[in-house]
């Protein structure tokens, strides 16, 4: 009974897109709290994460109902399942953003140090990756999702650069050791955001190409 | 395995042959029957006539001068037409002398010829004092002779026609004064003692009236009874008893219904004996079980889903029956009616019991006039000694069969009209 299921699916998609918007927003906010040393902003992030969690629970409920009541098959089924998978990743991104914000709050209390430009690059690349992944879902563009998968290595390399550079700084400037640690943690969290963006892209490929490409390189090699 | 297959095929072929054989026997019998009836009966539809120059002697009529119309007609009716005939015949055969010979001569022409002459003169009084050639109905013996039914080579004492009469007939034939024409009388006249004047019309009208009564009584009652028994009656021992009895009644010999009709309609209700009304009622009693059984079967064959649908929409039980069940059951009911009426058409015994066996000359004009029916007429004529009635019997049977065919055809046409598919 497609005419009844379609709105169910449409609502599910819209809820996910709302969640996606909030995830992007929360990432942006948390990063700004770091770069602008805004402790207030950092505290606001915690509240935003609650909203993401609430949407995650809503999607749980909707997915369960859709599967139980509509018994979707084929593309509909893949989409419902993938939406749940993507929601999981978005929820984790929310948590990661909160972590970044916590580091940001700590950095805000310290005297200003120059933020490693590599970290700035990492942050902007990660945001772009997430945006690309989410765009590929809303535009139903599997090719764009595949492009996201290719970018993941770059994120990892940038993360390595930031971490090794920070690690070198610690012995050089012991008084700023805690900032360096926070920088490392922010970098690590951003890398995991990138991983989750990759997962989201994999979900998109599942929906539109009916292929499960998770852990592809590991499983192949 | 192969052997079994072969024997199965052989059995099938044998079975089919049996079937064909059975059909063949039935068709052959039917064909033979029809052939014999038609062979014996077709001559009933033709009649021999003699051309005679009739002189309407004014002297025999008397003076019509100064008489009014009615008196004139009455005078014309009183004329001795037998005498006119006699004279005209003697004019044809002037050599015939002697009373017995003359009587033999006049016997060549049917007694009904007098009526013909009378009608001619009354219609056209100007024929008076004129010699007019008229085709007159020949006597049944002459008719039989012309149709080849009389053996000329028998000795005279064993023949109905004497040698002299044969000679006169031959003489008339030689002059071209004898012809055989279509016998309208057979289809338009009532019964008569004289074969050449006997017709089937009275019996036909009697049959039509009787069957009309039968149909009018048994059809509605039968259908309504069936409707009640199937749709409304509760299922209990009483209705089972009724059903058994109806089935049995359908098999009761028809003469029993005649006895019933005699006892009830004639003796108790004092209805006029021999009337189509009584005949129709008696036959209706006989036909009723047939119609009830056929109607019940037709009603049963209407799928219950139609009834449920109608009830679901809010039709009352009466509406369900009237709007849905009856229209769909109508073809089956009509078939039952055809069967019942066909049987009623051919039944003689019950009609005999209620007296429709009298010799009725007049064509019945109403339901209470004395009448007879086609099968009874056949029975009566078969009983008569005159040779002339032999062909009439077969002719009447042909008329009966034609009537039956027409009745069935009419009913089938009606059934086609109401046939609905579901």
């Amino acid at each position: 009974m497609a005419r009844v299921f379609d709105p169910v699916l449409v609502e599910l998609r819209e809820t996910l897109l709302r969640m996606a918007g909030r995830a992007e927003a929360i990432l942006e906010k948390s990063l700004r709290s770091v770069w602008e040393r805004d402790a207030e902003l950092a505290r606001a992030v915690a509240r935003d994460d609650l909203e993401i969690d609430r949407l995650d629970v809503e999607i749980d409920d909707r997915v369960l109902k859709a599967l139980a009541l509509q018994a979707p098959v084929a593309g509909d089924l893949r989409e419902v399942v993938a939406i749940k998978m993507i929601a999981n990743d978005l929820e984790r991104i929310g948590d990661l953003a909160r972590n970044i914000a916590k580091s940001g709050a700590r950095l805000a209390e310290q005297p200003r140090i120059a933020i490693d430009p590599a970290l700035t690059l990492l942050a902007s690349d990660t945001q772009k990756l997430l945006q690309q992944a989410l765009d590929s879902f809303s535009r139903a563009d599997a090719a764009a999702a595949r492009a996201v998968l290719d970018e993941d290595d770059r994120i990892d390399a940038e993360e390595d650069a930031v971490i090794s550079s920070a690690l070198r700084m610690i012995p050089e400037s012991p008084s700023t050791a805690s900032e360096a640690v926070d920088v490392i943690m922010i970098a690590k969290n951003l890398e995991r955001v990138g991983d989750h963006a990759t997962n989201i892209a994999e979900g998109v490929i599942l929906i539109f190409e009916a292929r499960n490409v998770k852990h592809a390189s590991k499983l192949a090699g | 395995m192969q052997a079994r297959l072969a024997s199965r095929h052989a059995a099938e072929r044998r079975f089919r042959l049996y079937g064909l054989f059975a059909i063949g026997v039935a068709v052959a019998t039917l064909g033979g029957l029809l052939f014999s009836i038609v062979g014996k009966g077709y001559t009933a539809f033709v009649q021999t006539e003699i051309l005679l120059d009739v002189y309407f002697d004014a002297a025999a009529v008397g003076d019509l001068e100064g008489l009014g119309d009615d008196e004139r007609t009455a005078a014309l009716r009183r004329v001795d037409y037998a005498g006119l005939l006699r004279d005209s015949l003697r004019a044809q055969f002037p050599e015939v002398e002697g009373r017995s010979a003359v009587r033999a001569l006049t016997a060549l022409v049917s007694a009904g010829a007098r009526t013909t002459l009378r009608e001619e003169l009354v219609t056209d009084p100007d024929l008076l004092a004129r010699r007019v050639p008229l085709w007159l109905t020949a006597d049944d013996e002459v008719d039989m002779l012309m149709k080849g039914q009389v053996a000329r080579d028998l000795p005279e004492s064993e023949r109905r026609l004497s040698d002299a009469q044969l000679a006169w007939v031959d003489a008339l034939a030689a002059e071209g004064r004898i012809r055989t024409v279509f016998n309208r009388t057979f289809l338009t006249a009532g019964d008569s003692r004289e074969p050449e004047l006997a017709g089937i019309w009275g019996a036909l009208v009697g049959t039509v009236l009787t069957l009309a009564v039968t149909l009018a009584v048994s059809f509605p009652m039968g259908v309504l009874a069936a409707v009640y028994l199937e749709e409304f009656a509760p299922r209990n021992r009483w209705t089972d008893l009724i059903e058994v009895n109806i089935n049995n009644l359908a098999a009761v010999p028809s003469i029993v219904f005649g006895l019933l009709g005699l006892a009830v309609f004639l003796n108790v209700l004092n209805l006029p004996r021999s009337a189509p009304l009584v005949g129709g009622l008696t036959l209706a009693l006989m036909t009723l079980p047939t119609i009830i059984i056929a109607a019940r079967s037709a009603i049963l064959s209407v799928p219950p889903s139609i009834r449920e649908a109608a009830r679901g929409v809010g039709a009352s039980p009466l509406q369900v029956v009237a709007h849905h069940v009856l229209p769909l059951a109508l073809p089956g009911i009509l078939t039952g009616a055809i069967i019942g009426m066909a049987r009623a058409l051919g039944e003689t015994a019950p009609l005999l019991m209620i007296g429709m066996v009298a010799f009725i000359v007049d064509v019945p004009a109403s339901l209470t006039d004395a009448a007879t029916a086609l099968p009874v007429q056949v029975f009566l004529w078969a009983d008569s000694p005159e040779r002339g009635f032999v062909e009439k019997v077969s002719g009447a049977i042909l008329v009966l069969l034609t009537f039956l065919l027409l009745m069935n055809a009419g009913a089938i046409v009606m059934r086609q009209k109401f046939e609905k598919r579901w």
């Binding site: 497609a2 109902k65 009541l69 | 139609i306 109608a310 929409v313 809010g314 009352s316 849905h324």
Partner: protein, 273 residues
């Protein structure tokens, strides 16, 4: 919530689902049904709400059809069938001596398992109900009712040039929609459906399910189905029957995501029997 249709069909206004506090259109209370000595339906309570579809599910012979047929007193014509308990329509008992069964069936319509259009024309099929109930007279008034009923049943476009053809000449799915149009034509308040799709192919079934979904805004619909997925798709309330008893009743989404009774669980998950 408005579903704007893109194919030119009328907009469907999906009514808000009733809550258990709303008054039901029809209610069965402690209903027992006996066929002779057999106790077919045992002390069942069941409400039917307007704006919602109530599904009756359960294995064969569990009494769901029997109960359904009580709501329009179709069981009256079955010899030996005895109904006890209370069934009300808008608060008034349908067994009241003042109630005319014929009128009741104009307010509570029924669609049967096997499509059973009358062997009349499409037009006459739909017009029959209004005609015998005196709702409309022959002519433009009746034409309007026939058209709107066929329209609401989603059949108008397919038959508007064939109104005089026999109803039985239509395909199975079309025949069933014709039966639905026939039921709608008398403007009932409740529509009872006894396995309406079990004789139809999947596409015809899908069309009927969509139709049911659209109709619920205007009527109270109760549907008996042996197809659980259909009940899940189409209904807002589900009643699960087993051996004549109402085992569980509740919102469809609850029954299918988390049934309470073990028997319900077994049946729904297919572990029954």
């Amino acid at each position: 919530m408005l579903l704007a249709a893109s194919d030119g069909r009328p907009e469907v206004i999906v009514a808000n689902s009733s809550t258990e506090d709303d008054k039901p259109k029809m209610k069965a209370t402690a209903v027992d049904v006996y066929y002779g000595d057999t106790h077919a339906v045992k002390k069942v309570d069941l409400p039917i709400f307007v704006g919602d579809v109530t599904a009756l599910i359960g294995p064969s012979g569990c009494g769901k059809s029997t109960l359904l047929r009580c709501f329009n007193r179709m069981n009256d014509s079955i010899a030996g069938c005895r109904v006890e308990g209370e069934i009300t329509l808008e608060g008034r008992s349908i067994f009241d001596s003042e109630i005319d069964v014929v009128q009741l069936r104009a307010r509570v319509g029924m669609v049967f398992q096997k499509p059973n259009p009358f062997p009349k024309s499409v037009y006459d099929n739909v017009a029959y109900g209004p005609r015998i109930h005196g709702i409309a007279r022959k002519g433009p008034e009746m034409d309007a009712i026939v058209e709107s009923s066929l329209e609401r049943a989603g059949l108008w476009a397919e038959v508007k040039d064939r109104l005089q053809e026999s109803g039985t000449a239509l395909s199975g799915g079309q025949q069933q929609r014709l039966c639905i149009a026939r039921a709608i034509a008398v403007d009932p308040e409740v529509i009872l459906m006894d396995e309406p799709c079990s004789a139809l192919d999947p596409i015809a079934t899908a069309k009927i399910e969509e139709l049911i979904y659209e109709l619920r805004g205007r009527f109270a619909i109760a549907i008996v189905t042996h197809n659980m997925q259909q009940a899940a798709r189409v209904s807002q309330w589900t009643a699960f029957f087993h051996l004549g008893e109402l085992v569980e009743y509740g919102r469809t989404e609850d029954i299918f995501t988390n049934p309470v009774q073990e028997r319900t669980r077994d049946y729904i998950t297919g572990r029954y029997g």
